[in-house]
């Protein structure tokens, strides 16, 4: 849990999305990255994994927009495919976290104060003690490095974040009058959860998912940098940074472009998340790791 961060939004910040620059900027950045990732499925300026040893370590040119790496691969094409990789890792890992987290969080809230609640929350505390990098290092030791294991590690790390958020959001819903009424009318906890709790906390979850998406991109980059994430020949932003380190003296730009790409992508997701929160629900508590 990284604590309650209450956003005290100025009263003028409401309703119209066009009044929120972070939503606009974040949205544009994310859209650009998603577009690049989708386009890379059918087209890249050069084949992203094709080695071209004679033209290795070139600077930016008309042929190679951002230059080439130590194997002569086109950096721009690799960044495009890397976007696909980062997005895929982010989507899967955050989905794992959100699905399990919401399940556990709603269950916990529905049985608030019971042994189940206690067990779920203690396990969440415990899991949260292991940041993605740490659990990934352990999973790697166990099952070998690879993007799947990285996704699992990041996903596990996300579960307690969503579980806690869901629980606190759901508890609020449970305390509302109409829920009390529904309970009195004999509705089961599952029915109430489906009918009232989940629709009410959906906005909260979406906002958090956007922000966790950004941390997932960062975590994947870090793991791939350590050699524990995406494996060659699949391009990954973090791996590109790792590889650029040995060639940095000859081609420093190789260490610049992937880093900038990560910054822009993470920034975009965070801005989008902030903007969405302002629009969807300006008063919610949120947590960020």
């Amino acid at each position: 849990m990284s604590g309650p961060e209450t956003i005290a939004a100025a009263p003028s910040f409401r309703r119209s999305p066009w009044r929120h620059p972070s939503l606009i900027i974040g949205g544009i950045i994310v859209a650009l990255i998603v577009t690049a990732a989708l386009v890379s499925l059918v087209w890249t300026p050069h084949p992203p994994t094709k080695l071209n040893i004679p033209s290795r370590l070139q600077g930016p040119s008309a042929t190679f927009w951002l230059g080439t790496d130590h194997f002569g691969r086109d950096v721009f094409s690799m960044l495009m495919v890397g976007a696909r990789n980062s997005l895929a890792v982010g989507i899967v890992a955050v989905s794992i976290g959100a699905v399990f987290g919401v399940l556990l969080g709603t269950a916990s809230a529905a049985r608030s104060g019971s042994w189940l609640d206690e067990a779920i929350m203690r396990t969440a505390d415990f899991t949260f003690a292991f940041p993605a990098v740490l659990s990934a290092v352990m999973i790697t030791a166990l099952a070998g490095p690879g993007v799947v294991n990285a996704i699992i590690a990041i996903g596990i790390y996300n579960i307690p974040i969503f579980a806690r958020l869901t629980r606190s959001g759901a508890l609020q819903v449970w305390s509302r009058d109409y829920v009390m009424a529904a309970r009195a009318a004999g509705k089961t906890a599952a029915q109430i959860t489906m009918r009232h709790v989940i629709p009410n906390i959906a906005g909260l979850i979406i906002v958090q998912a956007t922000i966790q998406f950004a941390t997932a991109i960062l975590a994947e980059a870090g793991l791939s940098y350590l050699g524990l994430g995406t494996q060659p020949p699949n391009p990954s932003w973090g791996r590109m940074l790792f590889e650029a380190q040995t060639t940095m003296q000859r081609q420093p730009l190789l260490a610049i472009f992937p880093g900038l790409t990560i910054v822009v992508a993470v920034l975009g997701c965070n801005l989008l998340g902030d903007g969405l929160r302002d629009v969807l629900d300006p008063r919610v508590n949120r947590s960020r790791s």
Binding site: F71, G144, T246, T247
Partner: protein, 493 residues
């Protein structure tokens, strides 16, 4: 701040860094290397790093190998091989003392070698000592070693770090507090960072020129680069970031020497496993790989190509690099012939060193061009040892075999290549027993050709040794007949 400094960084990184301007302390030297030894007893572990830091520093051998790959007397004054070809008589140096003050005598030699072959021995090169039948010590300065049968390379076997002479008194604690006869004694070891030696003022031989020597362990090549540019290292024993070598060459305070090792680097093939049990498939792999491009792409062009498992530095070397040329069309034809018109899928397990990981990426792409879909699987060294080396659970791998003259491994039927050829095994037995050098070398030539005829593996290049040192530091080994860096040979100009 990040935003502002980026364009500047890109520009600034292009400018050669200013060398450290501090006055050189001529009584000290810091040697930087990649891997840290796990322990400091060269007779109780396999890690090359143990030998690199202890050989001819703390510990000495009867006979030692010099930087030109020649055998030199060390703790043995001289030796004679009797006409029976199995009895060696060593005369030992007198007045030699261990660092704890104990006298070095023939009993220490007997103890060391018998300990090395004992059932509970942890010696990684036990095979060097198994030819020994008896060791007798007629007097404190004479050792007579009788072998079971003539063994051509017995002396080479006892010239390596694993044959270091230890004292019975300190043998048990050498792993963490090494006590030897050498020119340097152990002071301290900050694990994860550095090992500190000081000169043995009571040394029996020529005193080392530099008093305080430390070995610093920097796993990351980029950090090594930064450390030597900043003057934190006086030398790097084997620099791994090949693309950065040019930048180091431009630094007027440094010198760069590119030399050779005994490390034959190869695409190892599991010969026992389908489809690689078919010679045509193995030959197709060889035709599909452009050795030059591998060396260019993975090693920045540094590395001598080899066509078989043999060091070009050895007099018995035969140049077979042209025998199976790069020819993707032929590779495809061979695959078709072997029943794989559309290629097949396979995995390539790669250990951590950069030469393996990077060559692996290049080779996977090249094999892809002829239709072989290679999935790369990086493994840590423990897993590599367990799965590839011991359990032979692999299709392809990339590794350098760094022991000198290790072509005899192809006669080991249980070895991880799964190569089992009676003709080759017979050749190896003959070579081991052949005491006449010219005849033995002829057998070595035949062995090189035989393993290429059978295309046991695809042979790539010799692993280079790139030494970077401050201009006025003398005595770094340019080549690595064995991978050691004796500080006792260093001096400041």
């Amino acid at each position: 701040m990040t935003k502002k400094s980026l364009p500047f960084l890109a520009f600034a990184a292009l400018i050669a860094a200013a060398p450290g301007a501090l006055a050189q302390n001529r009584d000290a030297a810091v040697l930087c290397m990649t891997l840290e030894p796990p322990i400091l007893d060269p007779t109780a572990g396999a890690a090359q790093a143990i030998k690199e830091v202890t050989y001819n520093n703390v510990f000495e051998t009867l006979v030692s190998i010099d930087s030109a790959s020649k055998l030199q007397p060390r703790l043995a004054e001289n030796w004679v091989l009797a006409p029976d070809n199995v009895t060696y008589t060593f005369k030992l140096k007198s007045g030699v003392k261990f660092h704890d003050g104990a006298e070095f005598t023939s009993a220490d030699v007997k103890f060391s070698f018998e300990r090395a072959v004992a059932p509970n021995s942890k010696n990684a090169q036990k095979a060097s000592f198994t030819p020994i039948e008896t060791i007798t010590t007629p007097d404190p300065l004479t050792v007579v070693i009788k072998l079971k049968q003539p063994t051509a390379r017995f002396l080479e076997g006892i010239a390596i770090g694993d044959a270091s002479i230890v004292s019975e008194k300190s043998a048990a604690t050498n792993e963490t507090r090494p006590v030897g006869t050498g020119g340097y004694r152990y002071v301290d070891w900050r694990r994860g960072d550095r090992l500190i030696y000081t000169r043995n003022e009571a040394y029996w031989g020529r005193k080392p020129a530099i008093k305080d020597v430390s070995y610093r362990f920097i796993a990351d090549a980029q950090a090594q680069f930064a450390a030597i540019q900043a003057g934190d290292c006086d030398a790097i024993t084997n620099f791994g970031a090949y693309e950065s070598v040019d930048a180091l060459r431009k630094n007027p305070a440094l010198k760069v020497m590119v030399g050779s090792t005994e490390g034959e680097t190869m695409l190892a093939i599991n010969n026992a496993k389908a489809p690689f049990n078919d010679l045509r498939v193995r030959r197709a792999l060889a035709h599909a790989i452009d050795r030059k491009a591998v060396i260019e792409g993975a090693m920045n062009g540094v590395g001598v190509p080899i066509g078989s498992h043999f060091s070009p530095a050895h007099p018995a070397y035969v140049d077979l690099t042209g025998a199976v040329p790069y020819d993707p069309a032929k590779a495809k034809a061979l695959l078709r012939e072997a029943g794989f018109p559309n290629g097949f899928s396979t995995t390539l397990r790669l250990p951590p060193p950069p030469y393996a990981r990077r060559s692996g990426e290049v080779i996977a792409a090249m094999l892809g061009e002829v239709g072989i879909k290679v999935s790369i699987e990086p493994v840590e060294f423990p897993q590599w040892l367990e799965r590839v080396f011991r359990n032979k659970e692999y299709d392809l791998s990339i590794i350098a075999h760094t022991e000198p003259l290790d072509v005899g491994n192809y006669a080991r039927t249980d070895y991880y290549w799964g190569y089992n050829n009676a003709d080759f095994q017979a050749m190896n037995t003959r070579a081991n027993a052949e005491m006449d050098e010219a005849k033995r070398f002829q057998i070595y030539r035949d062995m090189q050709k035989k393993i290429l005829d059978d295309q046991v593996n695809v042979f790539l290049f010799m692993l280079p040794k790139t030494t970077v040192a401050k201009k006025d530091l003398e005595g770094m080994w340019q080549n690595w007949p064995i991978p050691v860096s004796p500080a006792s040979e260093l001096s400041w100009k």
